[in-house]
């Protein structure tokens, strides 16, 4: 029975160590005490501008284009980089032609910049929508998701003014909280945050791992070290005695 325990403990320890190693590489998960919050953006009044196509820079890999199209007001999108947080509006009539060039482009943000410089009026770049959001929170934080709702304040041939309107927080228990932006640069804080340290919530599993480690060390001591120490001491006693007798 103990043997089964030992095998189970060994496997658990291996799993535990592999988790620690991956936690070291990816700073997220049980052992870093943090978790990532999913953030995305929506444009609430995008349907009011049917003659435009709204595009944001995205990650290009394999067959995936390096941009994303915001289709409707329910489309929740992400900026792949914290430094490329602009939205581009194209005239729908021009977009198909631009799209071909866009698909061939290696780095879409560069293409956007060059294209808007060379073709004024065809593409309108929004102001920087960069926001300092909490990408990671304590592991026991009730927050799960944040959705930032944007509003198109004005769209002319030269200017796309997008304003941050509100943030919708979704908590672990499914409750939702809405907070309206007071200033454009500061994200309203969620009302519910973790009060206790992250490891309090993890205490039962930490205790379990602690017990597992103790049992494993004991098993190693019991089955390997103790008999080795005992037999080595017996041999030493016998050798010393033999040496003494020879004298």
């Amino acid at each position: 029975m103990i043997n089964k325990h030992i095998i189970l403990l060994t496997l658990t320890i291996l799993v535990l160590f592999s988790q620690i190693v991956s936690a070291d590489l990816i700073p997220e998960g049980d052992f870093s005490g943090t978790k990532f919050i999913y953030w995305c953006y929506k444009i609430s009044n995008i349907n009011d501008y049917p003659e435009y196509v709204f595009v944001y820079p995205d990650i290009a890999y394999d067959n995936k284009a390096g941009y994303g199209i915001i289709n409707n007001q329910d489309n929740c999108f992400n900026f792949y980089s914290n430094f490329l947080t602009n939205i581009y509006a194209f005239k729908k009539t021009e977009f198909n032609e631009i799209k071909t060039k866009l698909n061939r482009s290696f780095f879409v943000p560069d293409f956007f910049s060059d294209f808007s410089r060379n073709n004024p009026g065809l593409v309108i770049k929004s102001s920087d929508l960069k926001l300092d959001v909490h990408q990671s929170v304590k592991l026991n934080d009730p927050l799960e998701k944040g959705v930032i709702t944007l509003n198109i304040a004005s769209l002319t041939e030269n200017n796309l003014d997008i304003q941050k309107f509100k943030v919708i927080y979704t908590y672990k228990d499914g409750t939702i909280e809405e907070k309206v932006f007071q200033t454009q640069d500061i994200v309203p804080e969620p009302s519910r945050t973790a009060i206790l340290p992250w490891w309090i919530a993890q205490l039962p599993s930490l205790v379990f791992y602690f017990v597992v480690i103790i049992l494993l060390w004991f098993a190693m001591f019991w089955y390997i070290l103790l008999p080795i120490i005992a037999i080595v001491l017996i041999i030493i006693i016998l050798l010393l005695r033999r040496k003494r007798l020879k004298k």
Binding site: M1, I2, V211, I214, F218, W222, Y223, P227, I231, I234
Partner: protein
């Protein structure tokens, strides 16, 4: 945790019982006899447990093997004749195995 305590308690009881048996036959130098009992049992008990749980679940075979291994260790450590060492080992192991059987019931 209770597993650890059980193992340590089993070793402690075996050491005490075997020490008393050895002392009954060889009444000299009590600390030395106790040390020998500790060393002999620290060597045989963990290995016997391991063999019983992993390799051969025959209690009788394991006990007989332990009996012979301990008889040689007693002979060498206590510098007594093999017949006497075997007798000491036999009685000590008989008592401890009876105890372990009784405790496991």
């Amino acid at each position: 945790m209770s597993i650890i305590i059980q193992y340590i308690l089993a070793l402690f009881l075996t050491i005490i019982v075997e020490f008393i048996v050895i002392w009954f036959f060889i009444r000299k130098n009590i600390p030395k006899l106790f040390l020998y009992s500790v060393l002999i049992n620290s060597f045989t008990l963990p290995l016997a447990t391991y063999f019983y749980q992993n390799i051969l679940s025959s209690f009788l075979f394991i006990e007989i093997t332990v009996l012979f291994v301990e008889s040689f260790l007693i002979m060498w450590l206590l510098e007594i004749k093999y017949q006497k060492a075997l007798l000491v080992s036999f009685i000590a192991n008989l008592i401890t195995s009876m105890m372990s059987l009784l405790l496991s019931l």
